[in-house]
């Protein structure tokens, strides 16, 4: 069942279509990647999902019902890209305040804060101020304040920026754990290697429009260029012309070939076997999300104009 559905969402600012007819849905428990270059409209989409903006047109269905910002924000946890906490406020009080704003009672909040502080080894921070924390530490704190109220939907905008590998892993593990326990995660980033690693489904937006939607696997299949890495000592002489493939590049121990239109991988193997070539390996080369991203987005003007309405 889908936790969140967006139907034909539109948001226009004075002279810019920030979000122009975007629809997608996210299944419960999924880790979902919302991708796009700077200024594509990701933040505007997120702000509509978090109830900060009202869409000009379209519907948001949250947990089976029409999204009602006042009631539903308690079930959403949002960590914006630009982190923010009160610098002069004590960490314990601050976490308590943000939890209560999300609708937790004092006792509930206290219990959960203690749990999370123990888990992240932050017990000694209670009376410190945010300005005393390092960037990585305040990032961890921000993550805790985002997920403390056990939201059904967690929206993380670039959650790993500024984190060292150890803390990065810690947060990553937590994201997996939260997803396993039924939380749905929207993960907005332009770091594609993280998306490939974490997300099951992605949507790519550019200039306010959705240009790609699917699971990571589907997307890769969709944009594959029929490239294979063939591990042979020597390709048969005179391959060009009669062979069912073109040689793209020659590497040590392997050749990158592109299968010609109308042929299948088996045709390649057949051809090689027939010519008596010794085959060590035969692998399909799928494009990385990074390649797809660049291919789709490159050449389109990606000004951040829409924010300057």
């Amino acid at each position: 069942m889908a936790l969140l559905e967006l139907h034909n969402l539109k948001k226009y600012f004075a002279n810019q279509k920030a979000v122009d007819d975007i629809s997608f849905s996210i299944e419960k428990g999924n880790i979902f990647g919302l991708l796009g270059p700077n200024g594509a409209g990701k933040t505007t989409v997120i702000r509509m999902i978090t109830g900060i903006f009202y869409p000009d047109e379209g519907n948001i269905i949250f947990d089976g019902k029409r999204f009602d910002p006042i009631k539903d924000v308690g079930h959403i946890g949002y960590m914006p890209e630009e982190r923010g906490l009160y610098k002069k406020m004590k960490i314990g009080e601050q976490t308590m305040y943000l939890a209560q704003l999300k609708g937790l009672s004092r006792t509930d909040a206290m219990k959960k804060i203690k749990e999370w502080f123990v888990r992240f080894e932050m017990e000694t921070w209670w009376n410190k101020k945010v300005e005393d924390l390092s960037k990585g530490m305040s990032q961890k704190l921000q993550f805790v304040t985002t997920v403390l109220h056990e939201p059904k939907l967690i929206i993380l905008d670039e959650p790993f920026s500024g984190l060292d590998p150890v803390n990065s892993n810690l947060i990553k593990e937590e994201i997996y754990r939260l997803a396993q326990r039924g939380s749905t995660v929207i993960f907005s980033t332009h770091r594609m290697e993280q998306v490939e690693e974490i997300c099951s489904k992605i949507v790519l937006v550019n200039k306010g429009k959705k240009i790609l939607d699917g699971t990571v696997k589907e997307v890769k299949q969709q944009y594959k260029e029929n490239l294979f890495s063939v591990g042979v000592d020597q390709l048969p002489v005179g391959s060009n012309g009669i062979a069912p493939f073109d040689i793209i590049a020659n590497k040590e121990n392997a050749h990158i070939v592109k299968i010609r239109e109308g042929h299948r991988p088996n045709d390649v193997l057949q051809y090689l076997l027939n010519s008596g070539t010794e085959i060590h390996s035969f692998n399909e080369i799928l494009p990385s999300l990074n390649d797809i991203f660049i291919k789709l987005v490159e050449g389109t003007p990606t000004a951040r104009q829409f924010q300057n309405n």
Binding site: R47, T50, G51, I52, Y54, I70, V73, G74, I76, Y78, M79, P80, E82, R83, G84, L85, Y86, K87, K88, M89, Y97, L98, Q100, L101, K102, T145, Q307, N308
Partner: protein, 426 residues
Amino acid sequence: MNKILLIIQREYLTRVRKKTFIISTILFPLLYLGLIFGIGYLGEKGKRKLNVAVVDQSGYFDKGRFERDTSDKSAAITLLNENPDTLRSKLKEGESKYDAVVVIPQVANWEKGFDSLILEANRTLGMESVAPVQNKLNNIWSQIKNEKLGISDTTKTILEESKVSIKPININDKTADSKLAGTIGTIAGFLIYFILLIYGSQVMMGVMEEKTNRIAEVIVSSVKPFQLMLGKIIGIGLVALTQFFLWILFVFIIYNVTRSTGSGDAISGLVGKTQEIFTSVNIPLVLFCFAFYFLGGFFFYASLYAAIGSAVNEDMREAQSLSFPVTMLVIFSIALMTMAMNDPTGPIAVWASIIPFSSPIVMMARIPFGVPGTVPWWQLGLSMTLLVVGFIFTVWLSGKIYRTGILMYGKKVNWKEMIKWAFRKS
């Protein structure tokens, strides 16, 4: 609603628990009193007591009169029978025990008096220190004149003390004491003025802090921007109110302490004045109106300051230039109040106390003169209604500006742009 309470609570507690709040609450009245008494003390202390030698060439003055004269103790004058030039040269060398020399010249006609005597000193003197010398000489000279004209002491008393003096009374409100009312009104007006400026800019800084810390986006994903703004304004308003009540408490404690110890210093003089105030001014009404105009004015201006805070980026100068028109309105109100105090029932006073932007200060200054004697009920009612309408309007307007501004970064905004945000349909 519950969330607004949380925001109010946070805004209030973080400010009240700050050391600066406690220190400023205690220090402000002390500094204020210190300033008043300190200036008086230093003024007394710093005044130079001139010791002046007088040489009489007219022949009207005699030594005895100089010695008997006790009219002004802040200067000493001695009649000398010496050559003025010797005195002058001694003075120039710095060897004289006198600070200055006055030579009274010969005159043909005593009735015309001595116009413009010269006080010769070896440094520049201010009027402050010269005036007592003039007083003393005038005093002695009047005695001489009186004797010459044959005026007895009784006649002199009649001449000097029988005068016409006028005291205004409002026939609608005979207890009103316009001088006292003027003082209370001015103090109340200035208090509101300070509160508007100090706490208004606190609201602005608070909003800017949230914006530059980028916490605004986190918070508005939990509450509506309007709730955040209103919570902040109310929270800070309560801080101001707390500070004000603490000050009233201090006054009350000082009042009781000084009354019981019966010490006759300046503070208990103030206490005596306070008692006088209680009898001649309708204190409950003034206090109620003070609370009303304080809150109304605060909402009116603080919401404008909040809108400005939301529109600017980290730049303090940008904030200052944007808030300048608002600050000018407050300062202009004080100017209007000064005019209103001279004529509390004149057209400027009436209109300035009805129009919302200046009414908190001007009306508050007029109320101690008496309701309904000076301020008719209809004026008070209209003024209060318009102030409520006014602040509802500014809060609404600012709410719309705030909602756009708080999430907008990196753009320099002017008033025109802000007005556009305010009237854009959502």
